[in-house]
């Protein structure tokens, strides 16, 4: 594990870095492809909606499953002659449960079918669990879910805007979020997992998770880009990329930690209960958290950088940076910052445009130069170069 710690340290110092932002075109392409596939899957195959969305009755009973179970229960249910029964769908769960789904039935028929199933299973009728869903219920749930989604997106947009004082951060985070939800739903459509209300809960919860991750990364980006226009050493993309590299170990850790309990719900839920809300919820979460981790590393920061670099101030910065590098770096986007850039001193001035250029000294660390930036929380610098707290000699190198 210390190896990972080592990598973490080197990522932190920028010694090792993957150019997440520089290669954004690749990742945008990958994501676009995934989204397109998801949408095609969604519209071509549709979602396998559970009984909760279609309306119907589901029975579940404990019984020793045999080869004939399905046929026996089908016959038993059909023998009740319940009105408008349709074709009952009988599935066995593991070796000791059977599940029977029918169309919506009359209250009396529900009791009849339950008794028939109990008799067949050799249990008391009250040991048969049933779940009966009206036809319009699913619409209501879906309606609520969509409403929750919209309200949440609007609120989150505002909250992120307020927190980062930057609508572009909101936009990037929300696009990444929609991306996560689309892919998760796409996976459901393509693989054909059942969509139940529990799945919907899962998907809605992903929203929180995915954003949580994104906010942490953006926080680092903000820290690294504070006063960036005050120096001519890094473009916004460089700084953002460093931030992603610095937080990537954390992203991996938090994702693993989030997935561990969710995975245990998934495994235990499936193994013990076979099917049901626990499995549906955790499956959606599992997929969503994984996709969310991917997007908060590869997509959200790259989007943010793309948006920010449209600003004239940032473009001017880019030109200055490239000029300083002597045109050596012609790559359109931010390359990992070359070590040579570290020679530059903390310069003041600059055409400060965006991003509260309050602390020019708080530039991103890079190369072999871990800058011990004292990070005062208040922004009292007002654009002037400020003395750093530690003498340079103490900072190493």
């Amino acid at each position: 594990m210390s190896k990972l710690g080592n990598i973490g340290a080197r990522l932190h110092r920028g010694e090792v870095s993957y150019d997440f932002i520089g290669h954004r075109k690749i990742w945008f392409g990958v994501s676009l492809a995934l989204v397109v596939v998801s949408l095609v899957g969604l519209f071509a195959r549709g979602l396998a909606l559970g009984i909760e969305f279609k309306g119907g009755v589901e029975y579940q009973a404990n019984v020793r499953v045999t080869d004939n179970s399905v046929a026996d229960f089908t016959d038993a249910v059909k023998a009740t002659n319940a009105q408008d029964l349709g074709d009952p769908v009988v599935t066995t769960i593991g070796t000791d449960k059977v599940r029977i789904q029918t169309r919506p039935l009359d209250q009396d028929d529900i009791a009849k079918v339950r008794t028939a199933i109990a008799t067949e299973a050799g249990v008391q009728p009250n040991q048969v669990s049933t779940s009966q869903i009206g036809a319009s219920w699913g619409d209501q749930i879906a309606h609520k879910a969509v409403l929750a989604l919209i309200v949440f997106l609007v609120l989150v947009f505002l909250v992120i805007w307020i927190y980062f004082r930057e609508p572009k951060a909101s936009a990037a985070a929300i696009i990444a979020l929609v991306h996560d939800v689309l892919i998760t739903v796409g996976v459901y459509a393509l693989i054909g997992f059942d969509v139940t209300p529990a799945t919907v809960i899962g998907v809605l919860t992903i929203l929180g998770y995915s954003l949580y991750d994104t906010v942490v990364v953006f926080d680092k980006v903000r820290e690294n880009t504070r006063g960036i226009t005050g120096s001519n050493r890094f473009t916004y993309s460089d700084a953002a990329n460093l931030a992603v590299n610095q937080t990537v170990v954390r992203s991996i850790n938090t994702t693993v930690i989030a997935l561990l309990p969710v995975g245990s719900i998934l495994v235990v839920g499936t193994a013990v209960l076979g099917t049901g809300p626990l499995k549906d919820l955790s499956l959606a979460l599992f997929i969503g958290i994984a996709v969310g981790a991917y997007s908060s590393v590869f997509i959200a920061p790259a989007l943010l950088a793309t948006f920010k670099e449209r600003e004239p101030g940032m473009q001017a910065l880019r030109r200055r940076v490239l000029a300083k590098r002597g045109g050596a770096v012609t790559n359109a986007s931010g390359m990992p910052v070359p070590a040579a850039a570290a020679a530059a001193t903390a310069g003041g001035g600059g055409t400060a445009v965006a991003e509260r250029p309050d602390r020019p000294q708080d530039r991103p660390r890079s190369g072999g130069t871990p800058v011990a930036s004292s990070r005062p929380k208040s922004s009292a610098a007002a654009g002037r170069p400020q003395p750093t707290r530690k003498p340079r000699s103490k900072r190493g190198k």
Binding site: G8, A9, G134, L147, G208, P261, V262, V268, V371, K394
Partner: protein
């Protein structure tokens, strides 16, 4: 930055201890040690009804929903189901939770449309089978006490409205007692003979008279039988709410929709509570016609029944035609009685139908399975997270374990106490929320620890890193937790059913996470950083130089210098020294 006050961490830990002692003290005092489990964990039936207004395009007002809830409560209580919980949810949902076995008849009953009808009373008898002889036999000897519905009133059959001190009567040109004590027996067998209604008019409900079959059915009927279906076009046998009296009623004359309003009040100059009725135009006409016909029937026969859900709520008498679409029911009303009747009338005037949106019947066995699966998943998840923390953060894993333990205690106490205080029930979805929250809680530590290590990598001493790292990390933690909380709140407000439980526990644990990180994790790390083991970066502490990828811990003897070249293996042991 390294100027940590010596008292602060200890003080915060004491605050936490006080909170914990308080919470568990309250639990001890109220003797509530276990959380309130949802029906999906202990077996039972949960019915979700969607109320729809028949009159006004589908949506119901909050007032109507509250009324609808009352009606459902009455139905459920009437069915003799104990321990049922009826709650409203959202703008148009009513949840009925009934522990125990499946309740087919209840489900059926609960889903009925609530409709109010006015019917003519043809006969009234004790609801219990005791006095039932041939109904025609005793025109005058009907047992009086049993025949009186709940307000046992002695009625004076005087015609003056003001003179009816006790019974309930239609007033406004009439006054009559509601309680049919002397009357109901009147002419069970003779209604056919009463020429009060022209038999020719077949479509007119007022024209109906009991035939032999309905007489017989009425005689056999007892109030402990399930209520018959209330079909407005057919005669009905109905019982009073207290099941003491049964009534033979004609087809509905007036429907609840004919009413435009009802209220309870004391008329000016009066001192008795009364119920005021307003009819719409059509209803007013019908009412005039009906009262005209009924008033002709003579003393004891001139009774109306107000029937809701097949149950006779009130049987006022009419002594004369009432024009104008307005009427009062007077009698011995207590305020509660009057309001209750007014509500019934109002509710009937705005009929609400119920869609059975979902019924979930969980057998106790499956409930038990779900509970144990949830607990097992939680424990396994917890164990995995702890294992991972120890592997990755080594000694700091202790902090993770301790913090998770504190969070677990706080969560458990909150769930138990909230169950006591606001009836919060722990459902399967709620348990899932708690498990998912393990990840969120542990996440806060990851943010802090990674920050802390970053600070050390940047060349700070460990003790100052504990502070500076925290200063940065806490903003991130607050921001990230706010987003989680926001998601939980939105889900909670907009969601129905199981989602609510999930959102609630998720939100609750996010708050607890914030609390724990601030008043436990951080102070604990501060204290630990003062120990030799952590403060000097012991190999197993998770803060050793190798683990952090630096050559040696800054702030210790020797030049504090982060490893800068990858070629140099960071194997040097930390050298002891003052921090």
């Amino acid at each position: 930055m390294a100027t940590t006050t010596t008292t602060r961490p200890g003080r915060l830990l004491i605050v936490l201890a006080v909170i914990l002692v308080l919470l568990f003290g309250i639990m001890g005092l109220t003797k509530s040690w276990g959380p309130k489990l949802g029906l999906d964990l202990r077996g039972g039936t949960t019915i979700t009804l969607t109320a729809k207004s028949l009159a006004g395009g589908g949506s119901v007002t909050a007032e109507q929903l509250a009324e609808a809830k009352n009606i459902i409560s009455q139905r459920v209580n009437g069915a003799g189901v104990g321990e049922a919980e009826i709650t409203t949810a959202g703008s148009n949902h009513i949840n009925v939770a009934v522990p125990g076995a499946s309740q087919d008849s209840l489900i059926k009953q609960v889903g009925q449309t609530a409709l109010l009808y006015f019917r003519v009373v043809y006969d009234a008898q004790a609801g219990t089978p005791v006095p039932t002889t041939t109904p025609s036999a005793q025109p005058t000897t009907t047992p009086k006490p049993s025949a009186t519905p709940k307000p046992s009133t002695t009625i004076k059959p005087s015609a003056t409205p003001s003179a009816t001190p006790k019974g309930r009567a239609w007033s406004s040109a009439l006054g009559k007692d509601a309680t049919p004590t002397p009357t109901p027996s009147a002419q069970p067998s003779t209604p056919a003979a009463t020429p009060s209604t022209p038999a020719a008019n077949n479509g007119d409900p007022l024209a109906w008279t009991p035939d032999a079959a309905s007489q017989e059915a009425f005689a056999k009927y007892t109030c402990d039988q399930p209520a018959p279906v209330d079909d407005p076009d057919k005669p009905l046998i109905s019982c009073s709410r207290d099941k003491a009296t049964k009534y033979l009623l004609g087809p509905a004359i007036i429907k609840g929709t004919d009413l435009s309003g009802a209220s309870a009040g004391i008329p000016q100059g009066g001192f008795q509570w009364q119920v005021n009725l307003n009819f719409n135009n059509e209803g007013g006409d019908k009412f005039l016609k009906a009262t005209t016909a009924i008033a002709q029937r003579g003393e004891g026969q001139n009774l109306f029944a107000i029937v809701l859900d097949g149950e006779t709520i009130s049987t006022p008498s009419v002594s004369g035609p009432i024009p104008g679409g307005q009427a009062q029911i007077t009698g011995t009303f207590t305020e509660a009685d009057a309001r209750d009747l007014a509500n019934v009338l109002k509710f009937g005037a705005l009929p609400v139908s119920f869609d059975i949106s979902s019924v979930e019947t969980i057998s106790p066995q499956l409930g038990g399975d779900q509970l144990s699966a949830g607990i097992m998943a939680g424990l396994i998840g917890l164990a995995l997270v702890i294992l991972f923390s120890f592997l990755y953060y080594r000694g700091l894993g202790i902090v993770v374990v301790a913090s998770l333990a504190v969070a677990a205690l706080l969560t458990y106490a909150s769930v138990v106490l909230l169950g006591k205080a606001i009836g919060f029930t722990l459902t399967l979805a709620g348990i899932a929320g708690l498990i998912v929250a393990i990840g969120i809680t542990a996440d806060s530590f990851v943010i802090y620890f990674e920050r802390l290590r970053d600070e050390v990598r940047e060349g700070r001493s460990l003790r100052s890193s504990v502070e500076t790292g925290w200063a940065r990390a806490k903003h991130t933690i607050i921001a990230a937790d706010s987003i989680s909380l926001l998601a939980a709140v939105v889900l909670y407000i907009l969601a129905v059913g199981g989602v609510k439980g999930f959102a609630f526990t998720l939100g609750l644990t996010t708050l607890i996470d914030l609390l724990v990180v601030f008043i436990f994790t951080k102070p604990l790390v501060t204290l630990l950083a003062r120990t030799d083991f952590f403060g000097h970066g012991h190999k197993l502490s998770g803060l050793d130089p190798e683990h952090l990828g630096v050559e040696r811990l800054p702030g210790q003897a020797g030049p504090a210098r982060p490893a800068t070249k990858k070629s140099r293996p960071s194997t040097r042991k930390p050298v002891g020294g003052e921090v």
